[in-house]
């Protein structure tokens, strides 16, 4: 008899999802589906809205990565009105975005995905969560996690009004300058954020890399996919969160395509499935050939590991050291094992902290010139940035009154949609044998999607 195993809802991620696994009469996995049963339609109901409202409207796609939407949106407005932001505005935006990636990655490491790393995989139910993590790592570290996230989110509230939803983005600038007095506080937070980032990598070393069982999983075929990787890079091909070109490498790590965000339509395409509201992105030049990995498949991945794979290095010294150490331990670049996403995320936490410190010291940060006023008639604009979960693109068309006529949104997790489905199916095949579906097997299947830190509200928008 065939069976269906249902995991409903999937947990410790943002948004609604469920997994259905079909077993054949032998009890072997026939198919596994990762389904997203939600849909809101921002691409329709934002039509007719005033363009300047888009950074605060579209950030409500996601309460976990709103800052990334705010940034991509305001960059699309810069392009729409053909207005270059002032230097101070660029620094303020980048600081806000970098601080956000820092605290959001910590959210995943300690609250969402991290519990999979710290807790024994046979811990059922309520053990694998932030409270369990604090029990394992100790209250002292727990309090530090909470404190540093609160202070970094406080920094963003100072810049943008709210720790959660920034409102400061305007085409050509931002709404509020940073004073010298505020700079002193920002420097202090950045310094402490850097110290905590280093502590996180130590924790990873001691609690995760020293765990033989976890290492075996991290190097196992069950979690490995040979895919293309995509991420934004600066002029030196170093990882960049705020601005740069989008680079794709092939499964061997060779540069495959590199393009400016405005050219995204030449490179990316989306597929629709009738059984989920999540659209799946794939590389247009390779095409869609089903859920397979390898060079012949247009599937690609984004997010922390993909960004590191798609780059030639990190732009800051300590993060560069950790980047090299990570790839050495993984047998070189690109690293294909999905569980390495957790490690790559911490390398990015370190980079974010170093970059926050750099920006905090930059002369332009406190320049009172925070806006250039738009002078051109609007028509069309594209903006992109790296969200914590991957490359994010906003594309708007307006009439001359700057009223949105059409929009298209390619949102981070959508880029990973095919890979997430394939990872879940592969893990299901590896851990379910002969109809035996243990709690450990289910938790290991869930580890396959959780490493990506998926945001399903984003993925369906």
């Amino acid at each position: 008899m065939t069976r269906r195993i249902v995991i409903d809802p999937v947990t410790r991620l943002e948004g609604h999802g469920k997994i259905e696994i079909c077993l054949d009469i032998e009890g072997q996995v026939d198919h596994a589906f990762f389904q997203v049963p939600e849909f809101r339609a921002f691409e329709k109901f934002c039509e007719g809205r005033a363009a300047e409202e888009m950074p605060t409207l579209t950030q409500k796609i996601c309460g976990v990565c709103p800052t990334a939407h705010h940034i991509a949106s305001v960059k699309a407005l810069d392009d729409l009105f053909k207005v270059e932001p002032t230097e101070a505005a660029k620094k303020i935006r980048e600081l806000m975005h970098t601080a956000f990636i820092y605290e959001d990655h910590l959210l995943h490491f300690f609250y969402l995905g991290g519990p999979d790393l710290f807790m024994a995989s046979n811990d059922k139910g309520f053990g694998r969560n932030i409270f369990g993590v604090i029990g394992k790592l100790g209250k002292k570290i727990g309090k530090k996690v909470i404190e540093i996230r609160k202070r970094v989110r406080g920094l963003n509230a100072l810049i943008s009004g709210s720790p959660l939803y920034p409102v400061c983005g305007l085409p050509g600038g931002v709404s509020k300058p940073i004073s010298e007095e505020e700079r002193a506080g920002i420097k202090e937070i950045a310094r402490d954020a850097l110290a905590f980032a280093r502590l996180c990598l130590n924790i990873f070393e001691e609690e995760v890399l020293a765990n033989r069982g976890y290492l075996d999983l991290m190097h196992s075929e069950a979690y490995s996919l040979q895919t293309y990787y995509m991420g934004m890079v600066d002029r030196k091909n170093h990882v960049s969160f705020y601005d740069g070109e989008i680079r794709i490498v092939d499964p061997d790590g060779a540069e495959f395509e590199k393009f400016a965000a405005v050219d995204y339509l030449n490179h990316l395409e989306e597929r629709v499935d009738a059984w989920s509201y999540m659209k799946t992105l794939y590389l247009k030049s390779v095409g869609w050939h089903g859920l397979h990995d390898g060079k012949g498949s247009g599937l690609y991945r984004v997010g922390p590991l993909a960004r590191l794979n798609a780059s030639d290095g990190m732009a800051t010294p300590l993060a560069q050291q950790e980047y090299e150490r990570m790839f050495d331990a993984c047998g070189g670049k690109p690293a294909h094992n999905t569980l390495v996403y957790h490690w790559a995320r911490l390398v990015e936490v370190l980079f974010a902290a170093e970059r926050m410190s750099e920006i905090a010291c930059h002369d332009d940060l406190t320049d009172p010139a925070i806006r250039n006023m738009p002078t051109q008639l609007p028509h069309e604009g594209v903006g992109a940035c790296e969200a914590p979960r991957g490359t994010l693109i906003h594309h708007y068309e307006t009439n001359e009154e700057a009223i949105i006529q059409k929009l298209n949104l390619l949102v981070a997790t959508q880029n990973n949609a095919g890979a997430i489905s394939l990872s879940v199916e592969k893990a299901a095949r590896a851990f379910i044998k002969g109809g035996n579906v243990s709690e450990i097997a289910l938790s290991r299947i869930e580890m396959a999607y959780r490493a990506y830190d998926p945001c399903l509200a984003c993925a369906t928008h």
Binding site: T11, P37, E53, G142, L164, D273
Partner: protein, 324 residues
């Protein structure tokens, strides 16, 4: 040892921001976890629907539900949570008023689906496959939840005991709401947490609010510069503060941007957008009808601006229960 009260945190058609605001309780979240038993919270804890179904009716003290109700599955879940909980709070603007997802009520379901899944320029979908409809595959694909014609507020689907407004509610306000339950000092049914007065009363710029405002043209934020110490309204920049409940900490104003109304209407207002429109009408400095029209025409997208967070709770886009 006394049994800890059980609570659930759930989301419907939402962005996850309300759940983030729970995490932003920071150290208070740890304290909360000592005092209550969080039995269901998909964002941060493992737990399945069947665990919830296994609880006795009324076994939970409180369910905090965020998000509007858009999908059939969400309606089933909130009905289940209602049955299992003594109290249900609408957590955040979407559950309270419909929220930004409620702007979908200005379009048909078909239009929403067609734009996202057929028309956008990246989609390659020559057969016009729509989620929930027929599609290619092995026939083993899972069934997909459909959705209602309209986005609904939580209280258009189940009875709601109190509302915690805001997009998202500040963690302090959420803490106050949970504290009210745990300490048994909940106000009357239907109570909306937050201030009793409009945002203007606690706005840091209130001293610059003039006795009379006369506006000749409404200005858009991308094409104007304003004095960052003075009230937005006399400067011609629309701010929804006068019609919006206070209690947010003036967070947008602190960033030198005007209020967009996420805390919703005051106690005596039925329709948030209509209240704001009538307030703005009183600000218009014109005698002749064509002059009035010229000034009102300077407001772009009034529907999207004044009903940004409350279309499903309004005369214009009210959500209405449809059977699944």
């Amino acid at each position: 040892m006394p049994v800890k009260p059980k609570i659930a945190l759930y989301w419907c058609s939402s962005c996850g921001g309300c759940d983030e605001s729970v995490i932003d309780l920071s150290e208070d979240l740890l304290a909360l976890s000592m005092g209550v038993d969080i039995v269901f919270w998909p964002l941060a804890m493992d737990g399945r629907r069947k665990d919830l179904e296994a609880l006795s009716d009324g076994e939970m003290a409180l369910s905090l539900i965020n998000g509007a109700v858009r999908m059939h599955e969400q309606a089933h879940m909130v009905m289940l949570l209602r049955r299992k909980s003594k109290l249900v709070f609408a957590h955040g603007t979407c559950a309270h008023l419909g929220g930004i997802v409620g702007l979908g009520n200005f379009h048909s379901v078909q239009a929403l689906l067609t734009r996202s899944f057929v028309e956008v320029p990246t989609v390659k979908n020559p057969d016009g496959i729509l989620p929930g409809g027929p599609g290619e595959g092995s026939g083993k694909e899972p069934k997909l939840s459909g959705f209602f014609d309209k986005v609904m507020t939580l209280d258009q689907v189940i009875d709601v005991d109190a509302y915690v407004p805001g997009c998202p509610p500040p963690p302090e306000l959420l803490g106050e709401a949970i504290g009210a339950v745990l300490e048994g000092r909940l106000q009357e049914r239907g109570f909306v947490f937050g201030d009793r007065k409009a945002l203007c009363h606690t706005c840091p710029r209130r001293d610059s609010y003039p006795e009379r405002i006369g506006v000749k043209k409404f200005k858009r934020v991308h094409e104007t510069e304003w004095d960052s110490k003075k009230c937005f309204l006399p400067q011609g920049v629309i701010c929804l503060g006068p019609a919006t409940r206070g209690g947010c900490g003036s967070r947008c104003i602190q960033a030198n941007m005007p209020c967009r109304g996420c805390f919703g209407p005051l106690d005596n207002m039925e329709d948030h957008g209509a209240a704001m429109l009538s307030f703005l009408a009183s600000m218009i400095d014109a005698d002749r009808e064509n002059e009035v029209r010229r000034i009102t025409d300077s407001i772009p997208d009034p529907g999207g601006l004044f009903y940004r967070y409350s279309a499903p709770r309004s005369i214009l886009g009210a959500g209405k229960r449809t059977e699944t």
